[in-house]
C-alpha cells in the first residue's frame, strides 16, 4: 500500500532558486579572482545566470527576477561607476534569456552538438552589456565615439569570451544536473520492509553501506520530497506515536528537524543569528518569540558569544552545531542527523554527540542518526537499525544488531573492534 504522502501534491521544486544562487555566488568571486586581459574579463555573473537558466528553464517572469537579483548583487558587491544601470540591464537580459531558453528557440545543432549555450550566452551578454553601456552613455552624456569604438566592441569581446565559457560548461553541467532530476520510473529508488517503532526520547542509530538507503529513509521521515524517490513499501514507521507514512508532509516538517550530511548547504544566511531567525520567520512567529528562542538555543549549543559573527568564519563543528540549533529553535520533537561527524576531527565528533545527548536529556527529544563510525555513538544509542539495498535487515538493541551484522555478514566492517573480538571468541568456543 502506498503511503498517503505519495498521493500528496508535490510542492514547488526550489532547485531553480538554489542553483541560481550558488552559480551567481561563483560569478561574483570569479569577477574578483579570474585572470583578465587589461582589466577586461568575462562578465561571469551573466555567464553563470545564463547557465542556471539553461539548466532549470524557468519562466520568463522568473528570468526577470533572476536578472534583478544579479543586478542587485552586482550593485552591492562591486564599486560600479553607474550602479543603477545594472538594475535595468540585468533584469532585461534575464527576461530575454529565460524567454529564449524556455522555448528552446536557440537550440540549433551541428553534428548532435547543441549550439544553444554559445548563442544564448552571447545574446544575453550583448543585451545586458549593450543596454548597460547605452544607459551609461545617455545618463553621463558620453560622446558617441567612445560609445561606438570603445564600449560596444568591449561588450562584443566580453560576449564572445563568455559564450565560449558557456559552451564548455553547459554540457557536463547539464549531465550532472539531470542525473537525479529526470529519473525514469524504473530507476526510481524505493525502500522496503521498514518496520520501525521508536519511543519518545530514544536515540536511534541507522547504519549500512553508502547506497543502502539510510539517507532516503531519513529524508522520508523528515517529510522531504525527493524526485529520485518512489515510495516506501511494506513498511510501518512509528516515531513518537506519529505514523510517519500516513502523515502529511507539512505536519511532519513542523515536528521533525533534519540536519543533512552537507550541513554547509543548509546554512543560507550571512550571520549566525539570522540563520536561527530564518526558520522562525518562515513559521510566522512574533519578533519577541524569535528573539527569545534564538537566545535559548544558542546558549544550548554553546554558540551564544558567536551570535553576531558571520557564518563564513565558523569552524566545521561550529557550523554543525548551528544547524542543530536551527532545528531546536523550531522545537522539533524529533531530530534527525545524516552522518553528522563524517568530515569532523575526533575531538569535534565527540563534542557533537555529547551535545546530542544533552539535548535529549534536557528536552526529551528523540534523536535519529545515521552513522558509519559506531564508536562515537555506542555510549548513547538505545536502538539500532541495519539497512542494506533499501531494505531494513534488522532492528533492535545495539548488541542484537551487531551480532546480526556479524552472523549474517552484513556490513561487518562497521562492527567496533571490541564487539568483533568478543563475537569471534564466542564463536570459537561453540
Amino acid at each position: 500500500m502506498k503511503s498517503i504522502r505519495f498521493c500528496e501534491e508535490k510542492s514547488e521544486d526550489l532547485r531553480w532558486l538554489t542553483i541560481t544562487t550558488l552559480l551567481l555566488a561563483i560569478g561574483v568571486i570569479l569577477r574578483m579572482v579570474s585572470p583578465n586581459i587589461g582589466g577586461i574579463s568575462l562578465n561571469w555573473n551573466i555567464v553563470m545566470y545564463t547557465l542556471a537558466i539553461m539548466l532549470c528553464r524557468p519562466t520568463p517572469k522568473q528570468g526577470l527576477g533572476i536578472g534583478f537579483v544579479s543586478g542587485l548583487v552586482a550593485t552591492m558587491s562591486s564599486k560600479a561607476a553607474l550602479p543603477y544601470a545594472n538594475l535595468v540591464s540585468d533584469p532585461l537580459a534575464g527576461l530575454v534569456c529565460a524567454t529564449l531558453a524556455s522555448k528552446y528557440l536557440l537550440d540549433f545543432k551541428i553534428r548532435k552538438v547543441s549550439l544553444e549555450p554559445v548563442l544564448l550566452v552571447f545574446l544575453t551578454t550583448f543585451v545586458s552589456g549593450g543596454s548597460f553601456v547605452l544607459i551609461t552613455k545617455v545618463i553621463l552624456s558620453l560622446p558617441m565615439q567612445v560609445f561606438l569604438y570603445a564600449m560596444m566592441p568591449a561588450v562584443l569581446l566580453v560576449a564572445l569570451l563568455g559564450s565560449i565559457a558557456g559552451q564548455i560548461l553547459y554540457r557536463p553541467a547539464n549531465k550532472i544536473f539531470n542525473a537525479t532530476a529526470n529519473v525514469s520510473a524504473e530507476n526510481k529508488y524505493s525502500l522496503k520492509d521498514i518496520q520501525m517503532r521508536v519511543e519518545k526520547g530514544a536515540f536511534v542509530v541507522i547504519t549500512g553501506v553508502n547506497g543502502a538507503g539510510k539517507t532516503s529513509l531519513l529524508q522520508t521521515i523528515a517529510g522531504a520530497n525527493m524526485n529520485y524517490f518512489d515510495d516506501v513499501y511494506n513498511s510501518t514507521i512509528h516515531i513518537n506515536g506519529i505514523d510517519v507514512l500516513q502523515t502529511k508532509r507539512g505536519e511532519l516538517k513542523k515536528r521533525i528537524g533534519m540536519v543533512m550530511a552537507d550541513y554547509e548547504g543548509q546554512l543560507v544566511t550571512e550571520c549566525v543569528s539570522d540563520e536561527i531567525d530564518f526558520s522562525l520567520e518562515n513559521a510566522g512567529l512574533s519578533i519577541e518569540k524569535i528573539l527569545q528562542r534564538r537566545d535559548d538555543v544558542l546558549q544550548m549549543v554553546g554558540l551564544k558569544d558567536m551570535a553576531g559573527k558571520k557564518i563564513a568564519v565558523l569552524s566545521g563543528g561550529q557550523k554543525q552545531r548551528l544547524a542543530i540549533a536551527v532545528m531546536l529553535a523550531l522545537h522539533a520533537e524529533i531530530l534527525i542527523l545524516d552522518e553528522p561527524v563524517a568530515a569532523i576531527d575526533p575531538e569535534g565528533a565527540a563534542e557533537i554527540y555529547h551535545l546530542l545527548q544533552k539535548i535529549r536529556e534536557s528536552y526529551h527529544t528523540t534523536i535519529i542518526v545515521s552513522e558509519h563510525d559506531l564508536k562515537y555513538v555506542m555510549p548513547y544509542a538505545t536502538q539500532m537499525i541495519v539497512m542494506e539495498d533499501g531494505r531494513m535487515k534488522k532492528a533492535g538493541s545495539i548488541k542484537e544488531c551487531l551480532k546480526y551484522m556479524y552472523d549474517e555478514n552484513i556490513y561487518p566492517e562497521a562492527i567496533p573492534l571490541k564487539t568483533k573480538i568478543y563475537l569471534k571468541l564466542g564463536e570459537s568456543l561453540c
Binding site: T21, I29, L30, V33, P83, S141, F177, M258, Q266, N282
Partner: protein, 223 residues
C-alpha cells in the same frame, strides 16, 4: 545614520540621484556632493567610505578627461562627471550604513519585491566567502597536478576552466540538497512571514527625508 530605516536610505539615495539631474548647474551638484561628504561623518565605517569616495573621484576625473578629449564642452563634461560621483556615492553611503538583512526586509515589505528574490540576494552574499575559499583550494589542488597559470591571456583563461569546472559541478550537486533543505524549513509554504529586521519608519526618518527634500529643492531653485 545607522538608525534610519533602510527604505529611507534607499529613497534618499534615489532622491539625490534624481535631484542631480534636475539641475544643470555645476555649483548645485557640488553642494549635493558636499552633502554626501558630510554624511560620511555619520557613518561607523568612515575609513572604508572615505576610500570609496576617493576611488569614485578618480573615476570622475577619468570620465571628465575622456569627454574633454572627445571634444565635449567643459561644463557638460563636469556635469556628467560629478553626477556619476553623486550617484555612486549615494549607493555607497546606503550600503555602508545598512545591514543586508535590513535591505532585503525593506525590499520585500516596502518595495514589494517577491521574497524569493530578496532571499537569493542574501544567500548569494552568504556563499561568496565559501566559494572564494573553494576557488583557492581548487587552484591549489590543480597546481599539485601540474596546473600552472602561464602563457598568453587567452590560454590562461582557458586553463582557468580547470578551476571553475569543479566549483560549478560542486554547486550543482549542492543545489539539490539545498533545495530539499529549504523545503524542509518551510520556505515555499510560508504565507505569513515575519521579519526580525526593523523596517518601521520613525520620526527621524520623516524628519531627515523632509530635510533632504527641502535642501534639494532650495539648491535647485537657487542655482
Amino acid at each position: 545614520m545607522h538608525n534610519l530605516a533602510a527604505v529611507t536610505k534607499i529613497l534618499l539615495a534615489v532622491l539625490l540621484s534624481i535631484a542631480s539631474f534636475l539641475t544643470n548647474s555645476v555649483s548645485a551638484l557640488v553642494v549635493f556632493f558636499s552633502l554626501e561628504c558630510i554624511c560620511v561623518f555619520f557613518l561607523k565605517k568612515r575609513g572604508i567610505a572615505a576610500k570609496a569616495f576617493m576611488i569614485m573621484m578618480i573615476f570622475s576625473f577619468v570620465l571628465y578627461g575622456i569627454q574633454i578629449l572627445c571634444g565635449t564642452a567643459y561644463s557638460l563634461a563636469a556635469l556628467s562627471a560629478i553626477r556619476m560621483a553623486i550617484m555612486a556615492d549615494s549607493i555607497i553611503l546606503m550600503l555602508l550604513s545598512t545591514a543586508t538583512q535590513q535591505i532585503t526586509a525593506a525590499l520585500v515589505q516596502q518595495c514589494y519585491l517577491s521574497y524569493n528574490y530578496a532571499f537569493m540576494v542574501t544567500a548569494v552574499l552568504r556563499f561568496v566567502p565559501d566559494f572564494l575559499e573553494e576557488s583557492r583550494s581548487v587552484r591549489e589542488a590543480q597546481a599539485c597536478r601540474g596546473y600552472r597559470s602561464n602563457g598568453n591571456p587567452l590560454r590562461r583563461m582557458m586553463a582557468y576552466m580547470m578551476v571553475i569546472k569543479p566549483m560549478v559541478f560542486h554547486a550543482i550537486s549542492r543545489s539539490q540538497n539545498m533545495a530539499v533543505s529549504l523545503e524542509l524549513r518551510g520556505f515555499s509554504t510560508a504565507h505569513n512571514r515575519t521579519f526580525v529586521a526593523e523596517t518601521h519608519l520613525g520620526m527621524m526618518d520623516y524628519v531627515v527625508f523632509a530635510f533632504f527634500i527641502i535642501v534639494c529643492g532650495m539648491v535647485i531653485k537657487i542655482f
